[in-house]
Amino acid sequence: MSDPCAAAAAIGPAWCRRRLAKGAVAVGTVLFAGSIAPGPAFAHGLVGKQDLPIPGWLVAWAAAAVLVVSFVALAVLWPSPRWEHLTERRVAGLPRFLDPLLGTVGLALFAAVIFVGFVGAQTSTQNALPTLVFAVFWVGVPIASLLFGDVFRAINPWRALGRFSGWAAKRMLRELPEPLQYPERLGRWPAAIGIFAFVWVELIYSGRGDPSSLAVLALLYTVVQLVGMSLYGVEPWSRRADAFGVYFGLFARLSPLHWRRAGLYVRPPFAGAAGLIATAGTVALLCVMIGTTSFDGLTQGPTWNSISGWLLDDLRDIGVSPQRSVEVTFTLGLLGMIGAVYALYRLGIEGVWTVDHRRTVSELAGAFVHSLIPIALAYVVAHYFGLLAYQGQAIAYLASDPLADGSDLFGTANSAIDYGWISATGVWYVQVITLVIGHAAGLTLAHDRATAMYDDPRLAVRSQYWLLAVMVAFTGFALWLLSASA
């Protein structure tokens, strides 16, 4: 690939290069918009993905073109780091009572959900717990984190419980031993394992539809969190090891809003990700986040059936029960997909290493890992937006009649899911546009980091060639998954 900087420099003065880059962005946008623009068939109302007038692969080509054009535009218009040493602007102060108040609300909600899980109807369609956990919590909170910042940190029930326990213990015992130093080697590994375990329960565990089993698992998680917080302190543990706190916190880094103790601050969207410190396990966590979502998408298409069929047959032949053989096969598939995501990222980093032998591949993997955050969020939104848009509405009647005993607490017990508020095509647009924006944001974050690491802007651009290929691969893969699950 020819060097875009050199090509631009050969053309003429700076204004000329800027016009070239702006023109390239405009061409890319028109290309992409043209490729996904609705045809006459869309005038007929609700259509499925299968009815789309353009093939999915053409959208993948257009998305790749947008990324390449963005790459050229970044090379020309973004010669120095902008997000590395960001100054955030304070816009409002926060009252001190807000944090404990929201923590109490979060704790009360958690207790109510656990109660419903045990006492309510033991079917996934009549009990609010599965919908709350797998639609509202797992998909809704990441989107809320992007829009409003780290809202989960404020209502995190485990953090609130840890703080309350610490406060109560101090009152009773007067003197508490100092918490241990959080081991550096542990880093974000507990969070990576926690997210893997959660997705395993969501996708593979045979008791995932049983509300009381989910409630038991939530209590087990609470015990683990309390033990961790009592050993290493509430804040160090919840910032690095609480799987959900870390998971939602990563997405919140993409938000223009940053909640701090001193107040509410604003910053450019996505820029907060540049402040991520890549401790041990961060690369693994991001790969788990992308890999698990990818695997969920893969299992909804015919490709997975053809891959897994022979293994399922072999396991049944050696006497493994059908239920166990499905669990084993899916677990291997899940691990394989996470491994594939890691291998792809690692390939991109090996490419960066070809222009920077001063750093090790592991150091470079950590330096650019924050660029995977918007990709992980794009995968979540692209894959689960439909679930949130439709199944998420079920919470209105489930919350109003949480125990399925005929009560109507909020007057919405008789409401139904409105499948017409957004068409299947509308969902598809959201998915595709999110994927493109997410990958372009990843590209920008990686480019910004490269300009900070390398004094020579040309070297910074050259270091990103293989990461561009990785972004294109992730985009194409995500679009292929979407089309395969149609």
Partner: protein
Amino acid sequence: MLVFAHAGHWLAQIAYLLPLIVLVVLVGWGKLKQRRDRRRGRR
């Protein structure tokens, strides 16, 4: 032949890979050219 009978299906699947293949070929070709130019410079 079964493979050719389903060509439309698997070609559409492979088409997703095309931008990546083009990009990898371009980057790889650029790297090879760079290495060749360096070798020539040494001589």
